[in-house]
């Protein structure tokens, strides 16, 4: 229950094609994250699956049935919106009951499901309040509650955490992950935040300009990015991409090395540079190194990550040595070379 299959799906707004022909299969019970920079078509893709936008051509199959022309309500999917989209004039209880009321589920069953959802989401004390009286995190939980009670075959999340503050976001991230483990229902989650993608997903779909750049597990994407843009997008801080003479030594157009795969020394190493800004996080230190003489594109900066603390001040000389077995190589088209 909950396999979603996109077959040669396209979407155009007038003359502009925002989704070129696209194939994708989301397996039952999978937590799939669509991730990509803003404007990459990830939300559009989600809305196509939800049925809120009509697809221009192609097919969408849900559980093996062609759902291309099925109206949103009949697809058995539940969606959580970025703005939560709670009904402001209804109490939390009525908000959660709304989809069941529309489906004509009897009162006793409604009550049972509302109470179960409220208990699972810690909303029992707030059932008679209006959405306007709740905090951001509580509203988010009400929106999830409204989705759960429908017992959908898949959940769709459209950047649900982007309106929350950082601490709450981490908490809700965990709650949603736990919810997925408990319900084992297919979930599709759209975000521009690669940390959310990495921490939550079973499968990440990286999108750019409507194209799927790569599909894979978080670690697969981390270790084997298929091209430069995935390499730059996945991982934090970003991978250092180096062109020019240094890349020629390896026989490719671009080499990439992640900040955490670079050894740092104050006395000797392969590349020499000066310390710019050092960001001390306690557990880690990120150092931005300038004047390395490497072709790193605009900004002339190599970022390195050191576990623990290091006594490096602005302007100090520093030496970097990439771990050669962790080096990523890309050809002139930006594709991975093994």
């Amino acid at each position: 229950m909950g396999q979603i299959k996109l077959n040669q799906v396209t979407k155009s707004f007038g003359e502009v094609q925002v989704i070129p022909p696209l194939d994708l299969t989301i397996e039952d019970g999978e937590f799939t994250v669509f991730v990509g920079p803003s404007g990459c078509g990830k939300s559009t893709l989600l809305r196509l699956i939800a049925g809120l936008e009509d697809i221009t051509s192609g097919h969408i199959d849900i559980d093996g049935m062609d759902a291309t022309n099925v109206p949103p309500a009949k697809r058995g999917l539940a969606m959580v919106f970025q703005s939560y989209a709670l009904y402001p004039h209804m109490s939390v209880r009525k908000n959660i009951a709304f989809p069941m009321k529309m489906a004509g589920i009897d009162e006793a069953e409604q009550k049972r499901r509302i109470e179960a959802a409220a208990k699972a989401l810690n909303l029992t004390d707030y059932l008679d309040r209006r959405p306007g009286q709740l905090s951001g995190g509580q509203r988010q939980r009400v929106a999830i509650g409204r989705a759960i009670v429908r017992e959908p075959s898949a959940f769709l999340f459209d950047e649900p955490l982007s309106n929350l503050d950082a601490a709450l976001r981490v908490g809700m991230r965990l709650e949603i992950s736990e919810l997925h483990k408990r319900l084992a229902t297919t979930m599709i989650y759209v975000t521009h935040d690669q940390v959310e993608a990495m921490t939550m997903a079973d499968k990440i779909v990286v999108l750019r300009a409507g194209f799927i750049e790569q599909v894979g597990s978080p670690l697969d994407l981390y270790h084997n990015p298929r091209n430069e843009s995935v390499a730059g997008f996945i991982g934090s801080p970003k991978m250092n991409l180096i062109k020019g003479a240094e890349a020629q030594k390896h026989g490719v157009a671009t080499i990439g090395i992640r900040p955490e795969h670079t050894d740092v020394s104050m006395s000797e190493g392969l590349w020499k540079g000066t310390v710019g800004v050092a960001e001390h996080l306690g557990s880690d230190t990120f150092i931005h190194v300038h004047n390395t003489g490497l072709d790193t594109g605009p900004g002339d900066m190599v970022t390195v990550r050191i576990t623990g603390d290091i006594q490096a001040k602005h302007g100090d000389e520093i030496y970097l040595t990439p771990q050669l077995d962790k080096l990523h190589k890309f050809d002139a088209q930006g594709l991975r070379v093994d």
Binding site: M79, F81, A85, Y87
Partner: protein, 288 residues
């Protein structure tokens, strides 16, 4: 920054405006109250002294009083019902993306800019005239006898004319309210399985309730005072004499200022009763 000094300076500088506005309101009000207790016939002897509550008693016991109250309520109620019903419909229609949206919106608002006297005359002569009016032609085209609207269906005709004038106002306010509705709420309701009519009933209409309240209150206040439309069409005949019109007749046609003033005081009381009613019924929408 508001020191004692600047506050008193502010008061002094605001005083002329406040005093002017207060005078503008208080002088006519007090004069109306004074006249209502006097026998005052300008062309037949002038001020004939105090008479106590006689004017009040005469105004209410006159055979024209209760019909005028009911005519007022019919006009106000009818216009409110029509403008709000069609206002909501039009607002929803105008909110749909369509070609020439800007022009259409201006056209819809246009009737509001036409002076009441002019629009009533246009309706009277162009549409409702029993021999040359458009309606008469239409009726004859289908082989029916033309209706002489303003005498046979006088109150509905007045309601129609005034509704035409006030529909743009209602539409405009409701349209801005509809535009502020979060589209994600409608989409969420769609995902939740609500068909269009239920989406309207459960999402759009509650969202509009506050705007509807505002339209209701503002229009009631203005509709209680409509005058020009009646003056140029029926002249108060055929049961279209509203309270406002009755007061006008008492003061200017019968030249009885005292009696008219007493009617004016009743009108103030009626307007306040309506206002209190409305506040009671829908006022709680304004708190939320």
């Amino acid at each position: 920054m508001a020191t004692q000094h600047s506050r008193s300076a502010a008061r002094i500088m605001m005083a002329p405006a406040v005093i002017l506005l207060l005078g503008w309101m208080l002088v006519p009000l007090i004069m109306t109250l004074l006249f209502s207790f006097k026998k005052y016939l300008p062309m037949r002897g002038g001020d004939l002294g105090w008479v106590g509550f006689e004017n009040y008693v005469r105004f209410v016991s006159s055979s024209a009083f209760w019909p005028s109250v009911s005519a007022t309520l019919i006009v106000v109620g009818g216009v409110l019902a029509i403008t709000i019903f069609f206002g909501v419909l039009l607002a929803i229609l105008l909110n749909q993306p369509m070609w020439g949206q800007g022009v259409v919106r201006i056209l819809v608002i246009a009737p509001f800019f036409v002076m009441p006297t002019v629009s009533a005359l246009v309706w009277k002569n162009m549409f409702m005239d029993p021999t040359n009016g458009l309606f008469a032609h239409l009726w004859r085209f289908f082989g029916a006898d033309p209706v002489s609207w303003l005498s046979e269906a006088s109150l509905p005709s007045i309601v129609l004319i005034v509704s035409w004038q006030w529909l743009p106002f209602a539409t405009l306010i409701l349209l801005t309210a509809i535009q502020s509705l979060d589209s994600e709420q409608l989409e969420a309701a769609e995902m939740d399985g609500a068909p269009p009519l239920k989406r309207f009933a459960y999402i759009t209409l509650p969202h509009l309730s506050r705007a509807i309240t505002i339209v209701l209150l503002i229009q009631t206040i203005f509709l209680l005072a409509i005058f020009a439309e009646i003056f140029v069409t029926t002249g108060g005949a055929f049961g279209t004499r509203t309270l406002t019109y009755l007061i006008f007749q008492r003061v200017l046609e019968s030249q009885n200022v005292g009696l008219g003033s007493a009617g004016g005081v009743y009108a103030i009381i009626l307007a306040n009763i309506v206002a209190i009613f409305l506040m009671r019924i829908v006022g709680k929408n304004l708190d939320a």
